[in-house]
Amino acid sequence: MKRDQQEAERLVNAYSDLILRLSYTYLRSTQDGEDVCQTVLLKLLTGEGEFQCPEHERAWVIRATINACKDELRAFRRKAVPLEEVRDQVAPEPPRSDVLETVMALPGKYREAIYLFYYEGYSVKEIGELTGRSEAAVSAHLSRGRKKLRDMLGGKEYEPN
């Protein structure tokens, strides 16, 4: 039991914030971040064996989070959450930032590419592998996302290094 607690603690400390940011990028809400986190980390915790390396485990967490977010998006269309339930939920407050709000106004596929490229530091090729998209599609999403962002920010540059 102690080992399970230590593992749960490790996973929460290592991945909960990553899952929160990624799910916020997809869902535009932090309300469901904890649910997504719980879903993904429980899958990780109840599996057996070892990953090849931390990068492999991290890539698995990102893919699982993306899948969980897509499930949430589909579920959104079906379920109506009672108001009382919404009031009871305490969620992390999204930071106030013009740039972040502008990114969040972009279509989902552009937000996804921008988050994984600029925040997580993955290459175009790796993003393709993580999301199941072609490299060309990821490249196009990054490029179009940057252009839209530049237009929306009034010409403020947002170019790769």
Binding site: Q5, G49, R63, L73, P95
Partner: protein
């Protein structure tokens, strides 16, 4: 890093769970774990965990080779710049057929028609290739790598936590704008008894495909960072007479701890494009890896 990028990163840095929320999550995780059975999971090589759906478009090549009989062409890149980063790699062109939608299963067509969300990719995973073929449609003339216990094999019995990655996945390409079906891609992974691994990627294009602007007809390929090295090897004729174009991309490390590189076998059979991406074990030489790839290509039927 420019100001906008910095602001974006700093804003996201500030989005985090409080310590109290983390502690509540840990408690919930422990409670839920006690109620949930533990699954078995097989351990597989790292590179196979990342599935590449690689349809590289609109790139410019530096060298060129062709095999007229199968109309499959390989274009090797010694230096390709995308978004300021330099890559080496290759692309493959030609020889494909565009299949009518009537060739696909009704189940697949229903799945694609039901999805009108460009953000969602329909990509079910099946435990066996037979089930994947049923979903794809038996009119699609596929051939499959048929490993056995002494050469290459697919461990389909231990489908634990990573089953989504290691089953046989069928991914539908839907056009972002029209949601029409552009093509279908099938992946599965095999391991060899000598420690190599390979991802088989099969691409079936549809007659309704609406190519994106600027598409140069590339069916697939792979790009790696500039510190890698690419080499086109001698073509290989498979037992069924199909010629596979072989390309090797060498690891950037002088003494690779994982694999000397990755060896790609590319071929078209009955209008369907196949790419077999093999990697070796730590101590496998390039020649041994190429032999392993040839053995896997021999097993297609």
């Amino acid at each position: 890093m420019n100001q906008t990028e910095r602001e974006y990163r700093e804003a996201l840095d500030g989005l985090r769970f409080s310590q109290g929320e983390k502690e509540r999550m840990m408690k919930n995780l422990i409670e839920q774990q006690e109620q949930k059975p533990v699954k078995r999971r097989s351990v597989r090589p790292l590179r196979a965990g990342l599935i590449a759906a690689c349809l590289c478009l609109a790139l410019v090549g530096t060298t060129f080779a062709a095999t007229a009989a199968y109309q499959l062409m390989v274009r090797v890149h010694a230096d390709k710049e995308i978004d300021g980063q330099h890559y080496v790699g290759f692309q493959v062109y030609g020889g494909y057929t565009q299949f009518p939608l009537s060739a696909f299963s009704q189940e697949l067509i229903a799945a694609y028609e039901a999805n009108q969300d460009p953000f969602h990719i329909v990509q079910p995973t099946f435990a066996t290739r037979e089930e994947a073929w049923d979903f794809l449609g038996r009119s699609i003339p596929c051939i499959w790598a048929r490993g056995d216990e002494e050469t290459w094999y697919q461990d389909g019995d231990d489908m634990g936590r990573l089953s989504e990655d290691y089953g046989c996945r069928v991914m539908l390409w839907q056009n972002d704008e029209t949601m029409g079906l552009d093509g279908v891609e099938v992946y599965y992974y095999l391991e060899s008894v000598s420690g190599a691994g390979a991802m088989v990627d099969m691409k079936v294009l549809t007659k309704t495909m609406e190519p994106p602007e600027g598409w140069d007809g590339s069916l697939g390929g792979m790009l790696e960072y500039q510190d890698h090295r690419v080499e086109q090897l001698e073509s290989y004729t498979m037992p069924n007479g199909t010629v596979a174009e072989i390309v090797m991309i060498y690891s950037a490390q002088k003494e690779p701890v994982y694999s000397v590189g990755e060896c790609y076998g590319n071929f078209v059979y009955e209008g369907i494009f196949y790419q077999v991406r093999a990697h070796g074990s730590r101590d496998m030489t390039k020649e041994e890896l190429v032999d392993q790839l040839h053995a896997l290509l021999d097993s297609f039927q």
